[in-house]
């Protein structure tokens, strides 16, 4: 075992860690936007929207991420759209995460006590105002811890985008392994970086859980 390998590639790995975080962050943010829309569809009064939302969640949770990723990659190639691999990567992560985030948001909405919406209705609030001022603020608070968990999951899932060539942690570990002929050290290094990032995120998540018992939230 030669730890010097890890030290020499430290800079390389740090940049790759940055790429991993960036790709995952883009994925989760875009996933939130899409996921909110899917969630809205799921709770809509129109049956066809509810169906569409349910199908989306079923498909994007049922198909393995690797398959989704390659599908988008080849889909774009098939129709001659020349996009950089990064777009396929972030797109796949976002579309997949959106399905999980939609369910998290839906659960959070259900967790808001019914009575609050009723009080607003009895006072004559419009549906939109009830959504904006009463339901959403609380749903967002409730969903923050599970969303952070989802971010951690997405970060791990991002290792798959190495197959389309993105220079993130896993890909870089593979490169180091083949350049130095020391796969054990290379992958250990990559693993340690992932671990470090995830431990920080987990600490953030624990902080969020504690803080959200603050004034106002249940």
């Amino acid at each position: 075992m030669k730890p010097e390998v890890i030290l020499h590639s430290f800079g390389y790995l740090t940049r790759a860690a940055g790429a991993t975080i960036a790709v995952s962050f883009a994925g989760i943010v875009l996933g939130f936007a899409i996921g909110s829309a899917i969630c809205a569809a799921r709770v809509s009064r129109r049956p066809w929207l509810r169906r569409a939302g349910a199908v989306y969640v079923s498909v994007f949770r049922g198909v393995p991420l690797l398959v989704q990723l390659l599908f988008i990659y080849y889909f774009l190639a098939e129709y001659g759209i020349d996009v950089p691999a990064i777009v396929a990567a972030v797109g796949a992560l976002a579309l997949s995460s959106a399905a999980y985030q939609a369910e998290i948001l839906r659960g959070a909405l259900n967790a808001v006590p019914r009575g609050q919406g009723e009080a607003a209705t009895a006072l004559g609030f419009s549906g939109l105002d009830i959504w904006r001022r009463i339901l959403m603020p609380q749903a967002l608070r409730i969903s923050t811890p599970p969303l952070i968990s989802e971010f951690i999951l997405l970060l791990k899932a991002s290792s798959l985008v190495s197959v389309v060539g993105i220079a993130e942690l896993t890909r870089v570990s593979m490169n180091i392994a083949s350049e130095t002929y020391r796969p054990l050290e290379a992958y250990l290094a990559g693993g340690l970086f992932y671990l470090a990032i995830n431990l920080c995120l987990a600490a953030l998540g624990a902080l969020a859980e504690r803080r959200l018992g603050a004034p106002g939230a249940r």
Binding site: A122, G124, S126
Partner: protein, 256 residues
């Protein structure tokens, strides 16, 4: 002011209101009492159409709520906008307060003024403050509901409903969720409202309140009003066996 005629409602196959007739005059305080499952809360919630009723009529100041007579003579659902307008004139206080936890006491009272009455922030805050003072909670204006006792929360809820300057107030078991020592402060506020001439329809278990403040009491059981009249009549002179039985268990449990 409130007219209920032959109101019926079922939850699926289960009938809850089987033809209720009741009227509440302006500035009258009417208390609805009865055993659990009698339909009294459901009836109250039909008055502001929080629960839709299936047939019969509920009129507020002569105006039918929840439904409109269409041009072809049939009855259709009232437009949401019209319903919302009617609800602005009806105040409701819930058993579990239903304060919004992410807003302060002042925020809770001011929010409907801003969103529904369209007042500007400054004006809404001023009016909200006045209402909180009215219920004795000016000092707690900046507190979040989680920091308030049950009695305080309920008083904020009353202030929130009052701030809208409703023509009548509905109370759904306002003190049932409170610890005994906190019940008094809420009843005091309700008494002062009654003294000012507010029209009130109150579902309650507080017989003392009903006996002293109500102008009329209606006893409801199995979806029908069995007996009604001034407190003296219902409490002491009722000929209905179910009423006497209900009041008997109440006396037994509360005499010490």
């Amino acid at each position: 002011m409130i007219e209920l005629a032959k109101v019926m409602k079922s939850f699926g196959a289960h009938p809850v209101l089987r033809g209720v007739d009741l009227s509440v005059q302006r500035s009258e305080v009417v208390c609805l009492i009865g055993p659990s499952g009698s339909g009294k809360s459901t009836l109250l919630r039909c008055v502001n159409f929080l629960e839709p009723y299936d047939s019969g009529e509920i009129r507020i100041d002569g105006r039918l709520i929840g439904y409109e007579d269409k041009r072809d003579g049939t009855r259709g659902r009232m437009r949401t906008r019209t319903l919302r307008e009617m609800r602005r004139e009806i105040g409701m206080v819930f058993q579990h307060f239903n304060l919004w936890p992410h807003m302060t006491a002042l925020g809770n009272v001011a929010e409907p003024l801003r969103r529904v009455r369209g007042l500007a922030m400054r004006e809404a805050a001023d009016r909200a403050m006045a209402m909180l003072t009215r219920v004795g909670l000016a000092a707690k204006a900046g507190a979040y509901p989680s920091r308030l006792s049950g009695g305080q929360q309920q008083r904020v809820a009353i202030a929130r409903a009052l701030a809208m300057q409703p023509r009548l107030m509905l109370f759904d078991e306002p003190t049932s969720a409170l610890d005994p020592e906190l019940v008094g402060e809420v009843l005091e506020v309700m008494k002062s409202l009654a003294a000012e001439g507010m029209t009130m329809l109150v579902v309650t278990h507080e017989m003392g309140f009903a006996a002293h403040v109500a102008g009329r009491i209606a006893f409801i059981d199995e979806g029908r009003i069995i007996d009604e009249g001034p407190p003296a009549h219902v409490f002491h002179e009722s000929a209905e066996p179910r009423v006497r039985q209900f009041l008997q268990t109440y006396h037994d449990r509360n005499a010490f």
